[in-house]
Amino acid sequence: MQAANTYEELSCQELVELVTDYLEDGLPDELRERFERHIAHCSGCTAYLEQMRATIRASGTLTPESLSPEAERALLDAFRGWKR
């Protein structure tokens, strides 16, 4: 996730490696500006960023993994044992 050299614009290949930092608000100001400047003119990277946002949204609709009945039984037995 190395930054490109300051004088050059970011390439698309560099930009995709910065997307998580960007979405996490973790880019230094100067790099964030270059990121946004690139996005403003690049439909491919705009689509990529949208895909990434959509991926995050869709992951959020998954049902969190639940406890198996066997594990629950074992844990409740342990709990009752502990209470005694």
């Binding site: 698309c12 491919g44 990277c45 991926t55 869709a58 609709t61 844990l75």
Partner: protein, 207 residues
């Protein structure tokens, strides 16, 4: 939300101290599956991860009287787990899971970009297209996402599950897993990139 969560936690702690089974059940329903998944970052088998998670609950019960609420209950429980899983992993002779972080896998295959002989090196040669929203939320698409997450290395799987499926904040994940902010972000980046790639492949094939 935050205030409610706090009140909910205080009630749970008080109930647990009083030996209330319903409170214990609520906690294991909420966290056990995730504890196992996090433990799997450090130990080599699913059975060992289950064991570590079970031991963690006993430690939680033993220690609940000493819980002072300086961190959230959730963070406290996951810290207990992480410490135990690490110890066990070391005993098993496993290296800590973050030693492999240096390997630099690209988020997108290099073939999707123009190469060195092109005047615009590193630009999309096969640009992505936005995902169609209605298909994105279809049941089958969600199975693709779940399968992509399940196929990730354990560390990435734990981080993306906590962040994007369970909705924890970056700070909560760092605290619970004793991860640095940078490592958390690298793991999240790799995990999301892999899930995105799986989605793209699936949606392209199905249209």
């Amino acid at each position: 939300m935050k205030v409610e969560e706090d009140r909910d936690e205080r009630q749970l702690v008080a109930a647990l101290r009083a030996g209330d089974e319903a409170a214990f059940r609520a906690l294991i329903d909420r966290y056990h599956a995730m504890l196992v998944r996090v433990a799997r970052m450090y130990v080599s088998t699913q059975a060992a991860a289950e064991e570590v998670a079970q031991e963690t609950w006993l430690a939680v019960l033993e220690g609940i009287d000493r819980f002072e609420g300086r961190s959230s209950l959730k963070t406290w429980i996951f810290r207990i787990l992480t410490n135990r899983a690490k110890t066990r992993g070391i005993r098993e002779g496993r290296s800590l899971p973050f030693s492999s972080l240096e390997r630099n896998e690209p988020a997108v295959e290099p073939e999707r970009f123009t190469g060195g002989d092109h005047p615009w090196t590193g630009h999309w040669s096969a640009p992505p297209r936005e995902f169609p929203e209605e298909q994105l939320l279809a049941g089958e698409t969600r199975q693709v996402i779940a399968a992509a997450i399940a196929a990730l290395p354990a560390t990435q799987r734990a981080v993306i599950s906590l962040r994007d499926v369970e909705g924890w904040s970056a700070e909560e994940v760092c605290n619970a897993l004793t991860l640095s902010e940078t490592n958390q972000r690298v793991l999240l980046h790799r995990a999301r990139a892999a899930v995105r790639a799986a989605l793209e492949k699936y949606l392209k094939e199905s249209t």
